[in-house]
């Protein structure tokens, strides 16, 4: 070991203060905060990379069940495409229901991933560091599923490519006035840029994994790492590119769900042509998305033994975020539904009464309890937010509540056009139920497999954060202190 002509020791070797009271404070800070609890990078990497290769029984069981459901999805889709859309419960009044509900829901939960990795990066929220990649993976798989949903609900899905603008012999072209065209450009932009954004963030970690792996994993990581070494030029370019992506993908994120909401707002369907749909959908997306990220975090923490990385502070912060989003969502929901209550426009009154006292009332009240009552009653408490089972329970309820909300907007409201003769009720049938289960399974399957293939915790961001954070003493108290390096 060469002599170190250095002024300070590496950040993971920082000694505790001599005073026992101060040392106790520092110990407590290190226990609570990941970025204060620096360990040697080799150890941090091992904590992430080690569990990836250890595939237990639960993993294989999950793989079989989820894979089976995913296969069911594909088979039922093929059956539906062959037989015709009539095998679903759709009818001449309600022409959009199950798949569009899924479409809106999955694009919605994709937003949280982008928000956490891009917006929180821009705002310099350091606690996002271990969560961001899991959230991004949720975005990627949710968007992939959402991309297939409009295909599943098309009558002649084999001609889907007619919606793409490409030169052809028949001189045909799609219609840029259609909200579906806007959907395609927005979701394509969002999906590809989310994937590139995630890939950029993963590169340095794949390089770490490349050095530590062997066998087929080493070959895979060598290819995926693109030869990343970590020179200062490479880091500078990465930082600039991540900045461009962070600043770029935030407006895209807002625009995507707004464009999705315009699929509904551009129609004359009562209950749909509301100008508040744009921001209302975006906030709803973030709300359900943050809940989904909490669930994913809890599952990954358990499955990959990531207790070192995902601590109480992260769940606490996400719980607070969920509560704030709950307030925001209620604000928009109240705005939207105050109107029909107040002014009694006939068709809107019919729909509103359907929710409050009609056949849709059980669904509506379940949604209110799951989205408003329970989060507001529990998430203010730090104890609930810090308890992972409780927080996951609330998050699951939020998922159910938001799914019901989308269902009420799409499937129930659509059955009530202006002419009463055409009123109808949508009854889900087996094909769409199986397909819905299948796509949920696919998202979970995708994240499960991905978490075993690539490091699901950004090692370099955690180590960088630990490098830049320290403690500061004021009087007899010691506080965690952050360094703003940029």
């Amino acid at each position: 070991m060469a002599e170190q002509a250095s002024l300070e020791s590496p950040v993971w070797n920082r000694p505790l203060p001599d005073d026992p009271e101060l040392a106790a404070q520092v110990r407590e800070i290190r226990e609570k905060h990941l970025l204060q609890d620096a360990r040697p990078p080799r150890e941090v990497a091992e904590k992430v990379l080690g569990p990836m290769a250890r595939l237990g029984r639960v993993f294989w069981l999950a793989l079989i069940v989820l894979g089976g459901l995913t296969a069911t999805w594909l088979v039922v889709w093929a059956y539906q495409a062959y037989q015709g859309m009539g095998v679903t419960g759709l009818n001449r009044t309600i022409m959009w229901a199950p798949y569009i509900v899924n479409f809106v829901y999955f694009i919605g939960i994709g937003h949280a991933g982008t928000f956490i990795s891009a917006a929180l990066r821009v705002l310099k929220f350091e606690w996002r560091a271990p969560i961001s990649r899991a959230a991004e993976s949720l975005t990627v798989f949710a968007l992939l599923v959402a991309f297939t949903m409009p295909l599943i609900h098309m009558g002649r899905v084999w001609k889907f490519y007619w919606m793409l603008p490409f030169p052809n012999q028949r001189q045909l072209w799609p219609n840029p006035r259609s909200p579906i065209f806007w959907d395609m450009t927005a979701i394509f932009t969002y999906l590809t840029c989310s994937m590139l954004f995630m890939y950029l963030g993963i590169l340095p970690d794949i390089a770490i994994a490349r050095e530590k792996a062997s066998g087929w994993r080493k070959r895979l990581y060598t290819v995926l790492a693109l030869g990343w070494r970590g020179t200062d030029r490479e880091w500078k370019h990465l930082d600039t590119t991540l900045n461009v992506f962070s600043y770029g993908i935030i407006p895209v994120m807002f625009s995507v769900h707004t464009v999705v909401s315009w699929d509904f707002a551009m129609t004359l369907q009562p209950g749909w042509n509301s100008s508040i749909f744009g921001p209302y959908f975006v906030v709803g997306a973030l709300y359900s998305g943050v809940g989904a990220v909490i669930i994913i975090m809890a599952i990954l923490r358990k499955a990959l033994h990531l207790e070192y990385f995902l601590r109480e502070e992260h769940f606490n912060a996400m719980g607070k975020f969920l509560l704030i989003l709950s307030f925001t969502w209620v604000y928009f929901y109240f705005n939207d539904y105050l109107l029909p209550w107040y002014h009694k426009e006939p068709i809107l009154t019919v729909i509103f009464r359907l929710f409050t006292s009609g056949w849709a009332a059980p669904l509506w009240f379940t949604m209110l309890i799951a989205n408003i009552l329970i989060p507001w009653a529990t998430l203010w408490s730090r104890k609930v937010r810090s308890s992972i089972p409780a927080l996951v329970g609330v998050a699951l309820l939020v998922q159910a509540g938001m799914y019901i909300e989308r269902y009420l907007i799409v499937a129930v409201t659509l059955g009530y056009p202006e002419l009463p003769f055409d009123w109808a009720v949508y009854v889900p049938r087996l094909p769409e139920i199986l397909i819905t289960l299948g796509v949920f399974a696919f998202v979970v399957l995708g994240i499960t497999v991905l978490s075993r293939l690539v490091p699901i915790i950004p090692i370099w961001e955690v180590v960088e954060g630990q490098l830049l954070q320290g403690t500061r003493r004021i009087g007899r108290a010691i506080f965690p202190a952050k360094t703003e390096a940029d």
Partner: protein
Amino acid sequence: MSELKTRLLDRGQSAAAAPKTELPSHKWTMLIDLDKCTGCNACVVACHVENNVPIRSEREVIRGHGQHWIRIERYWEGEGDAQRATFLPMLCQQCSNAPCEPVCPVYASVHSERENLNLQVYNRCVGTRFCGNNCPYRARQFNWFAPQFEGPITEMLNPDVTVRSGGVMEKCTFCVQRIRRVEEDALVEGRPLRDGEMVPACAQTCPTSAIVFGDRSDPQSQVAQRLGGQREFRVLEHLGTAPNVYYLKAGGSDGGAS
């Protein structure tokens, strides 16, 4: 050389002598007198036969997969002994500001400005059903399954009208195949269309002549003369769709159908 000269010099005269191939513009309008409508559904049957609309089973119709380009909407009003039914024949209103048109991602639903009709291009439709949602009258019908025409029923099919495959939207076209035929006949004979020459299948069949069809840009036509009365109304006019189907209120102080 002289042949070329002849061809070039003759060009102008030949063009003048060539028959006119431009078709005139129309404002096709349908007028439905609700006082005369008895709800007999003959128009529905006639439309099925004329336009190769598939006949769905009773079970399918109950499930909501019925396909009727024109349907008689029946509303019950009143209670007990005073209860009566009012009939509203509902079909594609051929809106001038059709909400179904701009939302189609593949331009399968476009407007003909010359004829003021809403056109549906079957072989371009990919089946996203956005147009069906956006129609406030729910006039658009979707082929939930591929239509099955077997045996002698194929003899009934109108060869002038496409038989649609599954997954394609369709709707009333004001019997555009008949419009084409009468227009071409008139063009060949070098005369304008006469009022009453173009009759869609529903108007042709209606036993009480409740359905009247014509070109309201022709002031001599029956529709033009019957429009503008006190009984006239259009359905869901406030949505700004500018429909081209006018209804005449049924008699009675309650105003009849909505």
